[in-house]
Symmetry: C3
């Protein structure tokens, strides 16, 4: 039996019209698609950088739960900004979301543009022990 699972729907997952999976799991590894500040209907919800980041991470974590992973399994997070000078707000949120000493590896950069004109996009990899 294949250990491969394609996460395309689940509780709290945004409905996307895009032809992708929210996440793909093979064995102990889960790759999660880029998440932005969209509501359950998949509509972009503009806000402050913190508001958008909170919603993007909430979607990220909802995808993980649908894949039967948790935020504690995250090993790597990639965060793209529309304006990298807003990193401070996202660092503050990151420190709240992940306990000290058990935080993911991470990379950040400023993109020329993000999907739907959003301010921030997050994606990552989770691995179970």
């Amino acid at each position: 039996m294949s250990q491969r699972r394609f996460i395309t729907q689940g509780e709290g997952l945004p409905q996307w019209s895009t032809p992708i999976s929210h996440a793909v799991v093979v064995g102990k590894i889960c790759h999660v698609s880029g998440q932005i500040s969209v509501d359950a209907a998949g509509h972009y919800v503009p806000g402050t950088i913190r508001e958008e980041a909170v919603r993007a991470f909430a979607n990220f974590f909802a995808v993980l739960r649908a894949a039967e992973f948790s935020s504690a399994d995250i090993v790597f997070v990639d965060i793209a900004f529309a304006d990298l000078t807003e990193i401070g707000e996202v660092n503050a949120l990151f420190a709240e979301l992940f306990p000290e000493g058990q935080r993911p590896a991470r990379t950040i950069y400023q993109a020329a543009a993000l999907p739907m004109g959003s301010k921030v996009k997050v994606l990552g990899v989770a691995i179970k022990d």
Copy 2:
């Protein structure tokens, strides 16, 4: 015996002068380098966004085959655009390349510039069961 394989040449692979591997395989995991619209000689072939994306994905899949993986093993795809408003064309192609319900996780963004001035770059990770 090491399970590590460096994919540097193979049928249908672009000849690159850059000092990298097309892909590296360790065990069941294959990481593929960023692929753009280049021909077998490694020369950039400019085209419409669809033409460039078709060629970039063809190169991506050729690398996977050389690594003894297939497109069905892809778990994650990263697509960088020179112009993100062209996402619709790439979504249409993506829907053709991957069967519904078995599509990879994905992230997209607009870069400030891509190698050789190309319109689109694709890379990804494949994992066997």
Copy 3:
């Protein structure tokens, strides 16, 4: 016993105030955070593209060592540039850092901006056999 290790400090590692791990290891897989040209105190050291890349890779390799991995374990490297026309210098360095035929897969792109205004950022994944 968990195989999960969070690399937050170690010999030669830059001191970061950011709430992230330098790397996270689960089993045979190590994800390394984006590294730029910073000194041991975490202060940005501006330089030529080569100088910044040398320092960024030195930090990358120091993180790998702290995680009990080596540069030979690297399977994938992501390099973001502030100016992609400087790729030639980084290709030359890449050829020095990794032996021919055993080089990582790689992707490159130009970001709209990088942390601390740096010229180059490198990150990657290492996997042991």
